[in-house]
Subunit: 337 residues, 2 copies
DNA sequence: CAAATTTTGGCAAGCGTTTGCCATGTGACC
DNA sequence: GGTCACATGGCAAACGCTTGCCAAAATTTG
């Protein structure tokens, strides 16, 4: 063994020299196994293993243009809803040999745009979860590279969305069955597509069943948005509230409790997402469950599918939703007067 | 304007040609502003802006060896504790112009090792949150590149840890003040350094105050670990329980409720972390709060500090903890017999 | 057995930057 | 007016890998 082992990490060239073949052969032994004789390949692989060779991703990316990395942007990492999406995406990405670059856009369209810009050259594509960007901006982004959307449908783009039509109908059915003549929808950010979708579904279902639906908001889709929403609800005298998401619903319930209102005796509360915590808050929250990990995983898969070449048409993948009835909803209160 | 705008993204060379300078000048205009005449620089920058030039990160990484990216590995993304760490790390990384690569190790040392291996060449350094690897393995990893640890202290490595000594003392004081003669510690994974640290602190504090402390476990540090832990606790007849973390504590409380035990009337429960949900579960959980976002941010800062050159010595940064007393703890029950 | 075909491996040209080194221009200093 | 130092810009060699193209070898075909 004449050649000294270099102190720096072994390169493909080192392996080639040690194995007595050309660098191209080593490269192909890894990336196009069938392009090289089995015997040669095994020899090369053995040498590579002995030298502890690991390809330099930067060099690979430079030449091939592929980074084996995808960007995942979420509005708020600390919202357990997105934690689920991240987990699912991470799993699917790992399965595809891809690495995840994570960005927290802080519910901010400007920030989102900036992150897409900044990461664009560093990733092979984006999964955008609940993006706050406009359709046009999203389309523009998709023009420069593969994109998959979670809970946002834009014609022509790969989308994974929850089945809000059926879900909102379930919610309204549930409320109607308890005798509520009306409800208020506590809305989230105006830019939220899923928020608009939820409201649309609720309103349609309400009309069909003869309930009256009112929309309040916008409110921050976090615990912190709850108090303001709760106060508006109290002032309105509503008997039932559907909140933009569980964070808001939980924040609202806490404020309601502070103000002496009982859930569900005085007010029924429904959320969206079925996040971690929805089943052990007090009372346990009735909410529309979404398969968040699936959503993340499906989005990555959709992205992977367009990685080699962009496919022509991408049908929106819609995920089932399911109303989880817990203790935060109940019959309409019997208020004399 | 003689040169046609290329359809592909503009490269540094394009900018150089258009500006009538050498590529090296363009490069320096960006990376070493003071190395080039102000007039020239402004001209170059203007051309670059007009051409929409953005440096190719792969090419930069290849030549410079720096990727402007750091890896963040956590045991479980869906644990809100780590969501906080991630958020803080993301913020600090963005502030330093760095991007985060995220990995979920699934509480699995093997997985953790594999991810470090896989990402090593793609990042400038790692933040390892609650790593399950052994000290030696961690040291070995640090030998190949910068590393910062969260809630794990290894001599010679940059560490950010919560102040468990003071924290555990607060817990035991609290329990003692309620008259509990003893308590059990419901332990998490054996590989968890912070778990060992917590137990050590509790035991020491217990001895000092004349309480008896027993350790159960290991249990999974998730909601799912709660039932088994609860049953063990019930069987033991303990009046107070300190859990490895809040997830476990909440899972345990739910099981306790199912079995007809009231918290805190029959059993007091204390957790660690003060995660999202700890304040609105039923009853609200007494727990040791940790500044998770700070922890993430500090770790990234410590990492950034060793990015240009490794510093000689890294004192562990210790973060304050604070006991949040809520409703899950109370006086020792008055059990006749 | 020669010709045609398929495998297999090597050559060399990049991919888009950074950076060490050198050449020039400019002003300062004596 | 000459010497020096410094500011500025260019040259060219990497960085480690991929890939189009070609040649040699092996295999099939007529």
């Amino acid at each position: 063994m004449p050649s000294a082992r270099p102190p720096r990490p072994a390169t493909l060239t080192d392996v080639a020299a040690e194995a007595g073949v050309a660098p191209s052969t080593v490269s192909r032994a890894f990336s196009r196994p069938q392009r090289v004789n089995r015997h040669t390949r095994e020899h090369v692989l053995a040498i590579a293993a002995r030298l502890g060779y690991e390809p330099n991703p930067a060099a690979q990316a430079l030449e091939s243009g592929r980074t084996r990395t995808i960007g995942l942007l979420v509005p708020d990492i600390t919202n357990p809803y997105f934690a689920g999406v991240i987990k699912g995406a991470e799993r699917a990405a790992a399965a595809a040999g891809l690495t995840l670059m994570l960005g927290d856009t802080q519910e901010n369209p400007t920030q989102e745009e900036a992150m897409v810009q900044r990461l664009r050259r560093a990733v092979d594509g984006f999964v955008l979860s609940a993006p706050r960007l406009s359709d046009d901006e999203l389309l523009a982004a998709a023009d420069k590279g593969p994109v998959a959307l979670v809970n946002r449908a834009v014609p022509g783009l790969a989308c994974v969305v929850a089945d809000f039509d059926s879900g909102t109908r379930q919610i309204v059915d549930h409320l109607a069955s308890y005798g509520h003549p009306s409800f208020v929808f506590v809305g989230g950010p105006a830019e939220s597509w899923s928020g608009r979708r939820r409201w649309r579904g609720l309103r349609t279902a309400a009309r069909r069943l003869g309930l009256e639906a009112t929309r309040f908001g916008p409110f921050q889709p976090k615990l912190a948005g709850g108090p303001a929403a709760a106060d508006a609800v109290v002032a309105s005298g509503a008997t039932a509230v559907v909140c933009h998401n569980d964070m808001l619903a939980i924040g609202l319930m806490r404020r309601l409790a502070q103000r002496g209102l009982r859930v569900p005796d005085d007010v029924s509360v429904v959320g969206f997402d079925d996040i971690f915590g929805a089943d052990f808050c007090n009372p346990p929250l009735t909410t529309l469950a979404e398969r968040t990990e699936d959503a993340g995983a499906r989005a990555v898969e959709a992205l992977v599918r367009q990685l080699p070449r962009r496919t022509t048409d991408q049908p929106a993948r819609v995920l089932p939703t399911e109303l989880v009835i817990r203790a935060s909803t109940g019959p309409v209160p019997d208020r004399a007067g």
